[in-house]
C-alpha cells in the first residue's frame, strides 16, 4: 500500500509539472499578445512603441520564454500568485478569501448527489424496467442535458417570483455566520449536485445490476439472509467502488461547472473570480487560476486512486 501511494504521488508530481507547461504554453505562447488582452486591440495599436517595450520589460515579457516559465514556477512554489492588473488584492489573498466558498459548494454538491443518486439507483436496479426505473432513467437523461447555469438562473427567478426570496450576495465565513453561508451555497450545490446525481444514478444502477447477478450474492440469499441485508451489506459496497471513482472525477468537473453556475447565482466564490478574470482579460490571474484548477483536479484524482486502492486490494497488487 505504501509503495502504491509513493508511486502514485511521484506520478502526480510529474503530471503537475506537465500541466504547468501546458498552462504556460496556452496562456503565453499561443498567438495573442498579453498586452492586446489588457488594452484591447484598439488600445494596443494606439500604444506608443516605447511604452510598449517598457511595459513588456516591466511585466517580464521580453525575457526568454524559459526564464519566464522558471520565474513563474518559482513564484508559485513560494506561494506568490501574482497580482491582478485591475485590483489591489493579490491573487493569493483572493484565493484564500473566495476558495472556501467554492470548496463548500463542491463538497455539499457531492453529498447531495450521493443522497439523491444512490437510493434512486437502488430502487431502479432492484426493479429494472418498472415504472420507477423508467422515471429515474428519464430524469437522469434529462439532467445530463440541462446546463447547470441555466437551471440556476431559473431557480433564482422562480424563488424570486414565488416567494420574493433572493439569496444574500455577500459572503460570510461558515464559522461566523453559518446561516448566511448556507443560503449562498445551497442553490449552486443543488444545481451542481443534481447534475452529478444523474451520472451517479446511471453508473450505480448498471454496476448494481451486474453485482446482483454474482454468485456470492446468490449464496448470501440462499443461506437465508433477508433481501435488504443482502443488498445493503453484500452487494452495495462492491457496487459503489466505481461510483467512488466517478464521484472523485465529477468533483473536479464540479469545480469547473461552478464557474458558470456561480455567475448565474452571483455567488462570490472562486468561479466568479475566474469569470471576472476572463471578462477583464486578466491574463496572469487567469494563468494562475487555471493552474490552480488543474492542480486541484490532479490532486483529487490521486486521492480517489488511493482511496480506491485502500478499499479494493485487487488494485493495490496490480
Amino acid at each position: 500500500m505504501f509503495s502504491y501511494i509513493v508511486r502514485r504521488l511521484a506520478f502526480g508530481l510529474l503530471t503537475i509539472i506537465g500541466v504547468s507547461i501546458v498552462v504556460f504554453v496556452v496562456m503565453r505562447i499561443l498567438p495573442g499578445d498579453p498586452l492586446v488582452a489588457i488594452f484591447g486591440p484598439d488600445g494596443y495599436t494606439k500604444l506608443p512603441e516605447q511604452e510598449r517595450a517598457s511595459l513588456m520589460a516591466q511585466l517580464g515579457l521580453s525575457d526568454p520564454l524559459w526564464l519566464q516559465y522558471w520565474r513563474w514556477v518559482k513564484d508559485i512554489a513560494r506561494g506568490d500568485f501574482g497580482r491582478s492588473f485591475f485590483r489591489s488584492e493579490s491573487v493569493a489573498e483572493m484565493i484564500l478569501r473566495r476558495g472556501p466558498l467554492t470548496a463548500q459548494i463542491a463538497f455539499l454538491s457531492v453529498l447531495f448527489s450521493w443522497l439523491v443518486g444512490i437510493p434512486v439507483a437502488i430502487v431502479s436496479a432492484l426493479r429494472p424496467n418498472s415504472w420507477a426505473d423508467n422515471v429515474v432513467r428519464f430524469f437522469s437523461i434529462l439532467f445530463l442535458a440541462i446546463p447547470g447555469f441555466w437551471f440556476g438562473m431559473l431557480m433564482v427567478l422562480g424563488l424570486l417570483f414565488t416567494f420574493g426570496y433572493r439569496a444574500p450576495l455577500t459572503g460570510a465565513s461558515l464559522l461566523t455566520d453559518p446561516w448566511t453561508t448556507l443560503q449562498i451555497i445551497i442553490g449552486p450545490a443543488i444545481v451542481l449536485g443534481l447534475g452529478q446525481a444523474a451520472y451517479i444514478a446511471r453508473l450505480a444502477r448498471s454496476s448494481l445490476l451486474e453485482i446482483i447477478r454474482e454468485d456470492y450474492v446468490r449464496t448470501a440469499r440462499a443461506k437465508g439472509l433477508d433481501g435488504r441485508r443482502v443488498i445493503a451489506l453484500h452487494a452495495l459496497p462492491n457496487a459503489l467502488l466505481p461510483v467512488i471513482t466517478l464521484s472523485g472525477l465529477l468533483l473536479g468537473f464540479v469545480l469547473a461547472g461552478s464557474i458558470p453556475v456561480e455567475r448565474a447565482f452571483g455567488t462570490p466564490g472562486l468561479g466568479l473570480a475566474m469569470f471576472t478574470a476572463v471578462s477583464e482579460r486578466d491574463v496572469f490571474v487567469m494563468q494562475n487560476l487555471v493552474f490552480l484548477y488543474a492542480v486541484v483536479f490532479v490532486v483529487l484524482n490521486i486521492l480517489v486512486d488511493i482511496i480506491i486502492a485502500w478499499l479494493d486490494p485487487r488494485i493495490r497488487y496490480q
Binding site: 437523461i141 469547473a256 491574463v283 487555471v290
Partner: protein, 306 residues
C-alpha cells in the same frame, strides 16, 4: 433505455441473396431496424433532424432579423407579434433562438469532427506504432485530461481571442483525448489479428495496413464517439458564450443570449432566460438519445467504454 437483442450488431445479417443489395436498400434496412429496436432514439433522432433543419433554414424561418433592434418593442413579454417576447433593445427572441441554433450547431459539429478526427488519427498512430511515440503521446494526453474540459476550453478561447473559429478550436482540443484513447485501444487489439498479420506477410506497407486494413474497423467507434460528444460540445459552447469567451455578440448564440439576459439588470426577464436555455436542453437531449441509439445499434459492447 431500449432493450437490445443479444446479437452483435456489427455482423451484417446474412441475406442469402446471391447479388449484393444496393447501398440505398441497405441504409433503408438499417433505418428500419433502428426504428424497431430503439423507437425512443428514433423519435429523438427525428427531433435532432428537425433542429438541424431549423438551423439550416434559419433565414427562411425566422420572422424577424435577429440583429435589428426595434425601440418600440423593448423588453416585451411573449405576445402575438413576438411569440417569445423581445429583449432590452427590442430584438425578437424567437428569431434569435432560431439563429442561435446555427451558431451552436456549427460550433458543435465542427469541433467534434475536428477534435475526434485528430484524436482518432493520433490514437491510430499510437496504437499501431507503439513504443516510445506511444508512451510520450499517452503522457501528453494525460496532461490534457488533467484539466476540466471547460477550464481548458476557456483558457484556449481566451488566449486566442473571441470568434467562431477560436471557439471551435478550443472545444476541439478538449475532445482530442477521448478520440485518442478509444481508438488506440481498438487498434491495439486489431493489430494482433490474423488478417493484419496476413496483410503484413503479403508485404503491405505500414500506411496500407493502417488505412486500408485497420481503419475500416475503427469507423463504428468513431461514429459513436462523435455522436455522444455532440451534446457535451453544445453545452461547452453555451457555457463559453455565457462566460463571455464564446462567439461575441451581436451574433446570437444561446449562451450569449443568456449572458445578455443576466447583464440586463438584477432581475432578468423570464422569457429571455427560459427560451434559449430550453433550446439548449432539447438539443442536447436529442443528440444524446440519438447517440445512445446509434451506439446500441453499431456496437453494444462499447456501452461501458464510452
Amino acid at each position: 433505455m431500449t432493450a437490445t437483442k443479444p446479437e452483435i450488431a456489427t455482423v451484417p445479417r446474412q441475406t442469402a441473396l446471391p447479388d449484393e443489395p444496393s447501398r440505398w436498400s441497405r441504409i433503408r434496412h438499417w433505418l428500419y431496424r433502428f426504428m424497431r429496436q430503439s423507437p425512443m432514439s428514433a423519435f429523438w433522432g427525428v427531433i435532432a433532424i428537425a433542429i438541424v433543419s431549423v438551423a439550416v433554414l434559419a433565414p427562411v424561418i425566422a420572422p424577424y432579423d435577429p440583429m435589428r433592434s426595434n425601440f418600440r418593442t423593448m423588453t416585451k413579454p411573449p405576445n402575438e407579434k413576438n411569440v417569445f417576447g423581445t429583449d432590452q433593445i427590442g430584438r425578437d427572441t424567437l428569431s434569435r433562438v432560431i439563429w442561435g441554433s446555427r451558431a451552436s450547431l456549427t460550433v458543435a459539429f465542427a469541433a467534434v469532427l475536428l477534435g475526434t478526427t485528430t484524436g482518432a488519427l493520433w490514437g491510430l498512430a499510437c496504437g499501431f506504432f507503439g513504443g516510445r511515440f506511444d508512451i510520450g503521446s499517452q503522457r501528453l494526453i494525460e496532461f490534457m485530461q488533467s484539466f476540466p474540459d471547460l477550464v481548458l476550453a476557456m483558457a484556449i478561447a481566451m488566449a486566442l481571442g473571441a470568434g467562431t473559429g477560436t471557439v471551435i478550436i478550443a472545444i476541439a482540443i478538449t475532445r482530442i483525448p477521448f478520440g485518442g484513447r478509444v481508438i488506440r485501444s481498438v487498434v491495439l487489439s486489431l493489430k494482433e489479428m490474423p488478417f493484419v498479420e496476413a496483410a503484413r506477410g503479403l508485404g503491405a506497407s505500414n500506411m496500407r495496413l493502417m488505412f486500408r486494413h485497420i481503419r475500416p474497423q475503427c469507423i463504428a467507434p468513431f461514429l459513436i464517439l462523435a455522436t455522444t460528444h455532440l451534446g457535451v460540445a453544445i453545452i461547452i459552447e453555451a457555457s463559453l458564450g455565457f462566460l463571455g469567451v464564446g462567439i461575441p455578440p451581436p451574433q446570437p448564440t444561446w449562451g450569449n443570449m443568456l449572458s445578455d439576459a443576466l447583464n440586463s439588470g438584477l432581475v432578468p426577464p423570464w422569457w429571455l432566460v427560459l427560451f434559449p436555455g430550453a433550446a439548449i436542453t432539447v438539443t442536447v437531449l436529442a443528440f444524446n438519445l440519438l447517440g445512445d441509439g446509434i451506439r446500441d445499434q453499431l456496437d453494444p459492447r462499447l456501452r461501458r467504454a464510452i
